[in-house]
């Protein structure tokens, strides 16, 4: 896991093509939306709603990759592909790990945004 929380090249490319000011706005949107996706994953797990679980994981994966949060993206992808049952079998542990990684991503993005 030598991978940085945020891949600088991906983020730089995003800033270059979409404009730095716009990326600040986009980061804010992500920081507002991602916690909802994490909540969605948790409640879908509790409700046993496989479709919703997969969709939330899919959304988080897609956004993570946009900002270069490659580890978070890979973890979300894993959840999308293995689905609800695996996460249940693991007692929800993958969701905790995901939440931890998201905290790191949120901190890193906030820092980069304010820089």
């Amino acid at each position: 896991m030598a991978q940085p929380t945020i891949d600088p090249a991906t983020l730089a490319e995003l800033q270059e093509t979409a404009g730095a000011a716009f990326v600040v706005e986009l980061v804010d949107t992500f920081l507002a939306e991602a916690p909802l996706m994490l909540d969605d994953l948790k409640s879908a797990l509790a409700a046993g709603d496989g479709d919703r679980f997969r969709r939330a994981a899919h959304s988080l994966k897609s956004n993570s990759n946009t900002f270069g949060a490659l580890t978070l993206g890979a973890m979300a992808r894993e959840l999308e592909l293995t689905g609800l049952d695996r996460a249940l079998a693991a007692g929800g542990a993958p969701l905790d790990a995901l939440a931890d990684e998201y905290s790191r991503v949120a901190a890193a993005l906030s820092e980069l945004r304010d820089a």
């Binding site: 979409a18 969709r55 946009t66």
Partner: protein, 349 residues
Amino acid sequence: MRDARHGAARLLVVDDNKVNRLLLARNLELQGHSVALAENGRVALEMLRRESFDLLLLDIEMPEMDGFQVLEQLVKDLQLRDLPVIVTSSLEGIHNVVRCIELGAEDYLTKPVNPVLLKARIGASLEKKWLRDQQKELVRRFATPEVAQHLHESGFALGGKRVRASVLFADIRDFTPLAESQPPEETIELLNTYYTLMFDAISDHGGIVSLMMGDGLMAIFGAPLPLPDHCASAVRAALEMVQMMQLFNLERAAAAKPQIRIGIGIASGEMVAGHAGTNERATYTCIGNTVNLAARLEAHTKVARRAILIDSETRAGLAGEVPSEPLGPVPFKGMAAPVEVFSVKAGSS
């Protein structure tokens, strides 16, 4: 024209994820397009049916109505089936890409979408749409909306079928000396006016123009779509054509220009109708003895000195609705037996 082809387009972005939606919209706006947003398939379909868009960028994984369902709806919708769709998704699995293409998506881009690739794909899709629109416009000019739609739905499939229909041939009397006696611009302008008037009269009565040759044209009534009263429709169109020319001649007389006379021949019966040609260039046409007879009747108007001549089958189809005068049997080249010819009284009303 180049602006319509290569300029800004109006695009609809459908994605349930706000970050994806905003980023895609931003990239498209930077490319000069105007963008509207929808957060799921249901909302997108409502917007597509309400407003007009040049292209749809569609996410697949969405609540309420997903991208696959949107694609299925679009194929079924005659107004929307030609709307180009580019799927943007981070869906896993090649089978999902295949499914999108099979459902009619033009292209598939994996998210996060590379802006350079996005630009190229959108350019290609808009170019294709522009060409399709041009083709539709061409068909519209040559056919009624119903026929145009039929041609469009059948995918311009080559091949034919037997139909009962009426064929109408028309041309301008002594056109060649007239064309030689006036400036070329005037001849082209005359032809354009002539064709506009004739096309209107023909399509008003449910016919399609299948051929144009110089000052002559061939029209079909009853194919590709059946027309229950194709005989009467063809004759009514012919009467309107003659009437149109009379009005046009009043204008020409006022401008001290020579009068234009037309001759029309109509024959009815069974014929083979279909698209003939190659896949690159095909025309909808009819072939058969009936078609030959209509052409002979049109040529015979000069000899008989009548504006409209019809065969007995067309006359039978009129059921006395329009008065006609029997001219007796005429031996035509290529016909086994002499043919009963009838004249329809034009312009007497």
